[in-house]
Symmetry: C2
């Protein structure tokens, strides 16, 4: 018996007795085993709250356990396998057979969310997934419950702890490569960090948050994202000089009568609630006229943190309804669609910082300014660093449609005095919002 | 008809039709009228989520409306009268007659919480009160739901926006009197600010949070509190020099096998999540081993913010239970007692900053050090400012029982070279925790 198998056997030691609430666990890796341990530790407290003692009655590992046997013996299924298949098949089967499901699977929710929400609705059971976004930071519950009646205007999130750690290290002077190596050494980045540094992981999470906050189906493919691989220590230096934060920001907001969902690095003015979030942390700010804004922050996903978020969902699933509760309408659960879903908007206006390495020719600045001006860009500030062939032009432009900026950058990169590809980073300034 | 009466009439225009969810409102002041307006605006969205349209079917103002008529016509009661009586009588009557109750009344909950929780439990209805603490910051829901299964170690909160605004102004150089006048001018402080500046308002909120996080009944009278009236601009200057925040901190934490709940000014190390919370904001940090920490922040209570928190509770009350939900145990609702309630601990160890104005006599420092040493205090650092009869001694001492510090301060204040009463402020440093 392997160590993992022995731990699974020990977690299953208590079979469900009378009055127990049986939980089937799919996946027994870092999070799965942390969840099993936490469940056992907290069972008495959960019994005091819900009236029933939760007991793990089955666990599916890579090498043992049968999904159908686990399903038969469980009132709720906790899915911690990750990825699309077989997680999707198992979750759909569990929902269809009337089991509540708790999952931490952001890939599944951002690509097949509507199918899962429909299945839960049809079966009248709960589908909960707090752990899928921002680990223990309770953003899903707050959006779906505290703010269920609110008119959300905008969400800004730092929803990937790996990239936030890397950017914090770069702000301290490290290069991107050094910072990433340090993140790997400290267990904050995986051996293959591409899902994180490309912004794709954050994009999946923003798709889920946008779906919940705006009641509008958003598929991962509809979220435009840009990562941190191209950022330079220079850019963070610039941010520090101006008292700005440079973060990988996920945004979901009402724009031009529609909904814009995207992930990209952005300079944040120093008063922005996310500007001071450093290290492997996650944080989400929700804005609406009535509430002004709420910010929630905490450590990004680790095994115990994710397990704790899953446990919170399990307690909610176990809580009996109030006797006075009525029985109209859809069952309590997440994923209600808005009566007015919003069209997704691709091209939005942003302010930009543009960094260009130029050979210091007479008229270089004038030529760049003319190219920008032709695309409707208005320059807010410009600084020239260095001299001669090592000169750098750094400018900030007022909000401009991103398609126009791309077009301008393409034209600028063709200018003969440019010594490398120009870099553009969005700027989120108070005065622009 | 007064303007307020006209607004009430207009809010009541829609009588409850078939499928509507009838809401009775007690209190029609700033928050009450903001709630009525928000409810009307958001009714279609709430109907989409819950399956029923919420309709205000009665409102009790100072001069009109009958509680019993309102109760008869309502499925849920929203209590926004404030104070103890008649709010207590109305809430108990509503719960006893099977109505869900939503209240923002911190006085009532911190002084009669157990009576209300029992009444809700007996009737099998929900009692919700998100708006009673930290306005729109969803700390109640997160403690009772997301963290229901967690073993909370500590809560630190900035739960009074008035005092946080005053301290932020003082950090900028204002005197206490100037800062308070500015808070009053900007509507962040009432004409009589004594409940806020004395720490009593924060104490009521910490009693509620401690009750929920630790499952242990805590009455307002059991919370020791100290306000900000005695703080000097000097102290904030000192904080700034050392990169510390000086905040009015509410703490509820496990200490010596019991529970300590208290409110007092404290210096916070710069990495503390609350150290950077400025202006009329509220923020709460919850620590537990499994989650590390979560921080939630947002604007302190204003009319629209409080109304939004009440609306979130109303949506929760209206949500029908999942069909698969079971019916064992206590009804969903707040205020579950722990199977292991904790004894309340009065006297705990804290690190202190001590500020003394002394005539510069030979041996003054030695005498003070001796008095402290006799009470077990160990000095961590000491700085002498100024010379001669204007000298000030500022020291930080390692954690010491508060009763011993009080005793030492009493003795020190009797020393003949002391020119004024010594001031002591708690220090929350990373290394001490």
């Amino acid at each position: 018996m392997s160590a993992s198998e022995a731990s699974r056997e020990s977690a299953l030691a208590g079979a469900a007795g009378a009055g127990a609430f049986s939980v089937g666990l799919l996946g027994f890796g870092t999070v799965g085993s942390a969840f099993a341990a936490l469940l056992q530790e907290r069972a008495p407290q959960i019994e005091a709250i819900t009236g029933r003692r939760p007991v793990l009655t089955g666990a599916l590992t890579r090498s043992s356990g049968s999904f159908h046997e686990i399903l038969d013996g469980a009132e709720a299924i906790v899915e911690l396998i990750g990825g699309i298949e077989p997680a999707r098949e198992y979750v759909l089967a569990a929902l269809a057979s009337g089991r509540h499901v708790i999952t931490a699977n952001k890939q599944l929710l951002s690509q097949h969310g509507e199918e899962l929400f429909d299945a839960a609705r049809r079966a009248g059971v709960q589908l909960r997934f707090e752990a899928a976004v921002a680990g223990v930071v309770p953003v899903i519950r707050v959006l779906c419950e505290s703010l269920a009646g609110a008119h959300v205007e905008r969400i800004h999130g730092i929803v990937n702890g790996t990239t936030n750690f890397v950017l914090s290290e770069m702000a301290g002077g490290s290069s991107y490569e050094q910072a990433l190596a340090e993140a790997q050494r400290r267990g904050f980045a995986e051996a293959d960090p591409s899902e994180d540094v490309s912004g794709k992981d954050a994009a999946a999470k923003m798709a889920i948050l946008a779906r919940l906050a705006f009641g509008t189906p958003v598929h991962l493919d509809q979220v435009s994202y840009e990562g941190i691989e191209h950022l330079q220590t220079d850019d963070l230096q610039y941010a520090r000089e101006l008292g700005l934060g440079l973060k990988l920001v996920g945004a979901a907001e009402r724009r031009d009568g529609g909904l814009s969902v995207r992930v990209h690095p952005a300079f944040l003015y120093s008063g922005h609630p996310l500007a001071s979030v450093n290290g492997p942390y996650n944080a989400v700010t929700v804005e609406s006229q009535a509430i002004t804004e709420i910010t929630m922050s905490g450590p990004g996903a680790g095994g115990p943190q994710t397990a704790s978020a899953v446990l919170g969902d399990l307690v909610s699933v176990m809580l009996p309804p109030a006797a006075g509760g009525d029985r109209h309408g859809a069952p309590r659960g997440l994923g209600v669609s808005s009566p007015d879903p919003l069209p997704l908007v691709e091209d939005v206006e942003s302010a930009f910082y543009i960094h260009m390495e130029v050979a210091d020719r007479p008229g270089a600045l004038a030529t760049v300014a003319q190219v920008l001006g032709e695309r409707g860009a208005s320059i807010k500030s410009v600084v020239q660093h260095g001299l001669g062939d090592n000169a750098r032009l750094v400018m900030v432009i007022h909000p401009l449609l991103e398609s126009r900026l791309r077009d301008a950058l393409l034209r600028i990169s063709e200018l003969d005095f440019l010594r490398s590809t120009p870099r553009a980073i969005r700027v989120i300034e108070e005065e622009f919002t």
